[in-house]
Symmetry: D2
């Protein structure tokens, strides 16, 4: 209820602050008997962690995960899995000044209004660092879904600031620091270098896709699969927009073109983005998100201080000039958590269902 648990049947409770002793999460509801070790989780954490290129924050965090519970002799037991990540590179002095002023576009102001006090060290609880435990939890969900249904999750950046990134192929994504699906990222690097020199930040657009999703996931009225995806994505730090399938392009589509035709071999297109009536079709879940530019920048901004007086703020310290760069593994993890939740819900209510019709092939022709 206070917003730190994600999901119900596969429930992930997140804790920690950017510069506290540790961050982590507790996963409750993981099915028992799955092989699981830290190595299954560390890979995705490494994809997200800071300090891996000059285009992201230079904070050095190993983000090494420790499993504190819920695993016995290498297998999940069905009891809560606590994942702990120690913070190692906090420099609280960087933030002393920030405690007195409110960065435009940042949660500083709203935290103080909501709680009456806030932990200003590195953004405290509002830091994007708190996505690390979700990436860890997402890795557990991904593993179970892959083992059980063959479901896989992929993501890539499709735009950074004014630079649209064409889709050349998934194989390029792991080979550059932008998660860009292109062979040559020199244009992106130049763009980021100029932005850094200007002391500014930029937004981004990221796409995330789940394949081999079982048909029938999602609840028809409120916990629609796409509604829960929107909730998960909009909950990622800095996200300002979410699209499923055709998204905003569907505004100008006609019914005769938007609705994906069905054939015995599968759907003939995927404007739906894998969801109809809130329930998965078995096609790829196809999601896009808009990420706003970072609010922590060294260019001076007009603001007020804690006494309500006008002032200027300049954010020093180590910050991502484009938080969208590290958003891909986060968005994948959140999508995996949504699918996991609904996979368990589906068998709770509908475990005995025999559809009169075999699912049609899950990808379009």
């Amino acid at each position: 209820m206070s917003g730190n648990t994600f999901g119900s049947l596969f429930a992930v409770t997140n804790f920690g602050e950017s510069h506290g002793p540790a961050i982590g999460c507790v996963i409750d509801g993981c099915p028992p008997g799955m092989a699981l070790s830290e190595a299954d989780i560390q890979g995705d954490l490494d994809r997200r962690r800071p300090g891996t290129s000059r285009h992201v924050t230079q904070r050095q965090e190993e983000d090494k995960v420790e499993i504190l519970s819920g695993v016995y002799e290498g297998h999940t037991t069905g009891t809560p899995i606590c994942l702990l990540i120690r913070n190692t590179d906090q420099r609280s002095k960087d933030y002393s000044e920030i405690a007195q002023t409110f960065r435009p576009g940042h949660a500083d102001y709203t935290y103080i209004q909501k709680y009456g006090l806030r932990d200003p060290r590195g953004g405290g609880r509002s830091s994007a660092r708190l996505t690390a435990p979700m990436v860890a939890a997402g890795a557990v969900a991904k593993k179970w879904l892959r083992d059980r249904y063959g479901t896989t999750f992929r993501g890539c950046m499709t735009q950074i600031g004014e630079v649209a990134i064409p889709f050349e192929g998934w194989e390029h994504v792991p080979r550059n620091p932008f998660f860009a699906p292109v062979a040559d990222v020199s244009q992106l690097e130049a763009y980021m270098d100029s932005l850094r020199k200007a002391g500014d930040s930029c937004g981004a657009r990221v796409r995330v896709v789940a394949s081999k999703v079982p048909v029938g996931l999602g609840e028809p009225l409120f916990d629609k699969l796409d509604a829960d995806i929107a909730y998960a994505m909009m909950g990622i730090n800095a996200v300002k927009g979410v699209e499923i399938g055709a998204g905003f392009a569907s505004v100008t589509q006609r019914g005769t073109t938007h609705g994906d035709s069905l054939s015995p071999q599968g759907f003939k297109s995927n404007n739906a983005g894998g969801v109809l009536g809130g329930i998965s079709t078995g096609q790829d879940l196809d999601v896009a998100i808009a990420i706003k530019p970072t609010s922590s920048i060294i260019s001076p901004r007009e603001t007020i201080n804690i006494r309500g007086e006008p002032t200027e703020v300049v954010t020093k310290g180590r910050h991502d000039p484009c938080v969208g760069i590290r958003a891909t593994p986060i968005a994948e993890a959140m999508l995996a958590l949504v699918v996991m939740e609904h996979a368990l819900r589906q068998r709770a209510q509908n475990g005995d269902v025999q559809s009169p019709l075999a699912p049609i092939a899950s990808s379009f022709l």
Copy 2:
């Protein structure tokens, strides 16, 4: 868990099918002592109901609401408020053929895969008719929020198919069947007439705004105010995209322009759309949604039948050629339900909070 309850502290449980005997909802958690009668609810229901212009479905439903519980001598008692709306104009014969085929872009296919059976009469549970009880529940939330905080909710259509609708003023919205903020809707009427003649449907874009929202609403990690708004909006039938504030435009913004400056007189812009770090700033909540074109159209579409054989489907019956036309009061209601939920959550945890800083003026200069 099966997706028919919205909210936790102000929990609305929805029931019914398009062509069953009745639809309705149970509101649990309404604060006691508020004056409430059917008249407080009927107004919004009338704004949403079908058959009010030639541009929407011709089904005739009075959508007359009956309060079955939770109100005594004209005041809420704090116990569940059951709102019942009898269905009066069902023509089940229109749908006999549809039971055997799957409309492209419709929930027909996913329902049968999820449950193994479905109620095909008027779309059964997947019908947009089930938004009526939410409009009714939203009216209760709106009343409490207006009485308690002065919060108000408004919405309008900003695009219909290819036709962008400029914002001329809120005063125009109730004067035309499109909820369009323009004085002259003849272009929209012509567009819809041509679409109907073509036997096709179109999408729409709708904006919804809440004003005088208390500062501090929303949870910082998962139940962010904007995440819950995204969940609520994406859960409305046919919605494929959601934006808060600058939305997808923030992708190309710089940090120096996106972050809304603070001054003693208030924020100087509202790219945030009223939410920072998941928590309300006190500025207007500003939300946009993309609505896909209706899938029930009379133009023939390629599909399969329940035996998996290829066939064609033509949807007769009475359908909205643009479901976006009636979406405005629905989106307002869903936004009100989200704000209501978070208003109650806020005082649960933070009822004693004294912020060191008075909220700055809630609207931008």
Copy 3:
């Protein structure tokens, strides 16, 4: 959260007041494809309803249930099932005086303190009449559990006031108005007649048993099966104590006698009452509850009025002199709802589990 929904996966939302137009519930999460009609529900409602003997309230209510949604062509569809029961015999005038005073032992005082106002007609929301929708929902759960696992539910009265009732056999239970497992109830009738003449009321003890419960239901830490049973039972109007298995007798037992020995043929006793470590053993769930004497009695009682002044209260109207008499079908229903919830939870998380050991025979030798 406001306490009118029972369960999560099989969630029953209850609404209505004793003398409002109707009472009822919405069941969300019922598995689809189960044959269901009003007749499947009416039987248990008839067992609970008032006016069936001189030993219970003389209010005449047919308690006729109407299915408003969730069933199509005689089968559940997986969508919410709304069950409506119209109130027909309200005599609000009986309660006019009561609105000003607080019955000792009744919720009158606490409602006014909690909500600031209350519906005094027939006890409003605090009336035991609100158990009727739970009996109806329980009938749906019972049917599914019987169809799916062969689970059955039985209950009986084991004590009424000072009169202990020996267990002679289940076959007697439906043959007398007390749900007493004895052939001859003349002693019970005499006891109740004398109590009525004295203008007083008495308590009761009721036992309820579930047989052929699947092994493995219940969560190990908090949502233990027995914890949820205790919650369900203590939530029934007037219940003041709950026991599982040996209950309070276990205080004086030794470990060598309490722990039920296991053998290949089954457990050799059932002190556990069918639950170990919060999880069902497959033995009978065996539950006992203590029900306090009715607080609405015609003997004058010392109290205060709404102005805080001392006064006397005499409760006229039609009341049960022993609410325990009609408690048996209610307790059965609540037990069924708990088992149903956990049956669905179990397959959500543990649907793939293969135990290395076949369950031992489910009843003791």
Copy 4:
């Protein structure tokens, strides 16, 4: 949903196993601005911890708590509070044999049936050791309730095995290892010594009381305050029965004696145990629980092994001969968590309520 989170608004998620690296919990929803340090928590942990007398398990655990998050400069911030307790004295070799057999009266059998595997070291997740994090969380709730409302929690043992313990005074409770409210515990010591010699275990009865509880807490239908108390208490390891107020004694009471009379000076008795209609009256919450004898005993017991073959089991290792001895601080903590949850719920829905009647004095004359 998988039963490891207690509460909704003050939600405590528990993790860990008896012999894993650590146990702990995450508290979500704690109001901000409360002074809190480890010292506020350690006291209650010390009251519960093992090894403090010869009458409890000789396992040596310091149970030293570490606050990992949610506290900044000595005050709660409103974000999740993670409490970690490292396990230091695990002797896993003691349990190697136990992995193959099922102790009568223990969760061994049900865990293997539910999950298909189990962590046998020290009972794994089913160990009463997992109550330590609840005692820690309860200490946080107690502090807030005491600061905010003056609410206090006390408990004592009222029976151990066959030995009833008279109530001489609360002041004796902290002065003996039994939490017994008597000056002289030599009889209890002798009883326990003889039991230990016999290689057996015994049950106990514990009473727990909350004073200065605000009036109006609890929901009227399902989340009744007493129902949630019953749930909390029955969820404590080894509890088999729960009573509120008069409890099972109410079965033989008459309405004229059970119902507590009201006067301007307060209630004249407390058969209700502080709850009417599921809502707190403002009187003391008065709760009794029955605790079964420990199942881990050195006397040989008849059972089966994991291959389903008959065998005998003798439990060596370090176990409490009466788990009831350490149950008092646990029951207090669970009661505090229930009251805390409902205190927050109450102000969520009813924060604006002005009762027409001032609460009458909260304790009986």
